[in-house]
Symmetry: C2
Subunit: 226 residues, 2 copies
């Protein structure tokens, strides 16, 4: 990003960048639902010959802006004209997992509970599949002020497959101000604490709580003698 | 890691660290199947009062050593005595996705094809669930010299659900020497190029190839006018 002449991003993420990173750069910051306009501006800037960086929080490829920029380049027939590169980052799911202990040491599924751009029935089908095949599950966008029924329904599906004792982890604002981390059995899980700045991680059938942390064993204990 | 007095890791990863990082530290490097012994040494070192870092490639929580260390601490009743912290990193799945374009902008499942520590039937059940519920799928440990039938069988399951045209991406040695990146329809996919240093990413039913890259649209194009 140090090479970029223009930096484009959601106001909240731009505000979180150290000011020296943005010094001397043209900054385009837009609000919460301005994703398309934001990425269009980035493409316009690149078309004008400027090195342009679109910033995402976490990893730009995981529910991030990488796809939308590529889609706009494709739609406008610019794939050959504008160089496009994605820089990987630490996704929220890894930040959350680190704070929870070691929930992701075995196969896992990542599901967004936002039904703004995806039909709820598709999401339900995915939760059912992940729950029945014993994946650890990471829920993105678990609950907002206007959308709270989805998480309850998702956890009901998980409960059917794994019972009340499966460990559930909640991480809010991982490695940021206001960080909250909690682990408990599903039966004791408090919905009220969950918001859009949270991730919810549900263990698989072997996940247990160890020292207040989530631990999904990889299988070594059975194979080797610990 | 700069604070650590002892650094423990697989020989291959330790060798990849800049020498100044290891200067003045006690280094314990062991071979490929020495995971348990390695983590036991790390716990011994911490018990002796030394700040100890266990290094993993990618993210230590995704099929990494975080779980094994926590498991050993639990087994030995040391959870209260030894401070344990996981530092998140960029997982191989995000490095691969970045090089492939934008395959992970929607729900995805991560599955290891290694049946060394997991029964093959459990793995098959997960592939079937992920394929039928239209997850993008990331395959870790896709193929080794002694284990090549698993990937063929996994892709046969995917083919049943998504046909021959679903895009498949292969990334070998992401951001390392010997990096290889390829995208093609499943029908044209070459197994021979896949090894244990590779990740294979299979698109969902909406993933397409755009300018040689994998693009999973997030849904914006239907909802908004691009």
């Amino acid at each position: 990003m140090s090479r970029a002449q223009t930096v484009v991003g959601y106001t909240g993420y731009i505000g979180g960048l150290p000011s020296q990173v943005l010094a001397g750069k043209n900054v385009i910051a837009t609000g919460m639902t301005g994703e398309v306009a934001r990425c269009e501006s980035a493409v316009e800037s690149a078309l004008a010959g400027r090195d342009t960086a679109v910033v995402s929080s976490g990893d730009a490829g995981v529910y991030g802006m990488a796809g939308l920029v590529l889609e706009i380049l494709e739609k406008r027939g610019l794939l050959d004209r504008i160089e496009f590169e994605v820089i990987p980052g630490i996704p929220a799911l890894c930040a959350a997992a680190a704070l929870l202990g070691a929930p992701l040491t075995h196969d896992f599924a990542v599901i967004s509970l936002s039904d703004l751009l995806t039909p709820w029935q598709t999401i339900v089908r995915r939760i059912q599949a992940a729950a029945s095949a014993d994946f650890v599950i990471v829920f993105y966008n678990p609950r907002s002020k206007r959308r709270s029924a989805q998480l309850a329904q998702a956890l009901d599906i998980v409960r059917l497959a794994r019972g009340e004792t499966v460990p559930v982890g909640l991480v809010r604002q991982a490695f940021r101000e206001g960080q909250k981390v909690g682990v408990c059995p599903l039966g004791a899980f408090d919905f009220q604490a969950v918001d859009m700045l949270s991730l919810v991680v549900v263990g698989n059938s072997t996940t247990r709580i160890a020292g207040g942390r989530m631990l999904t064993p990889r299988g070594y204990a059975e194979k080797y003698d610990l």
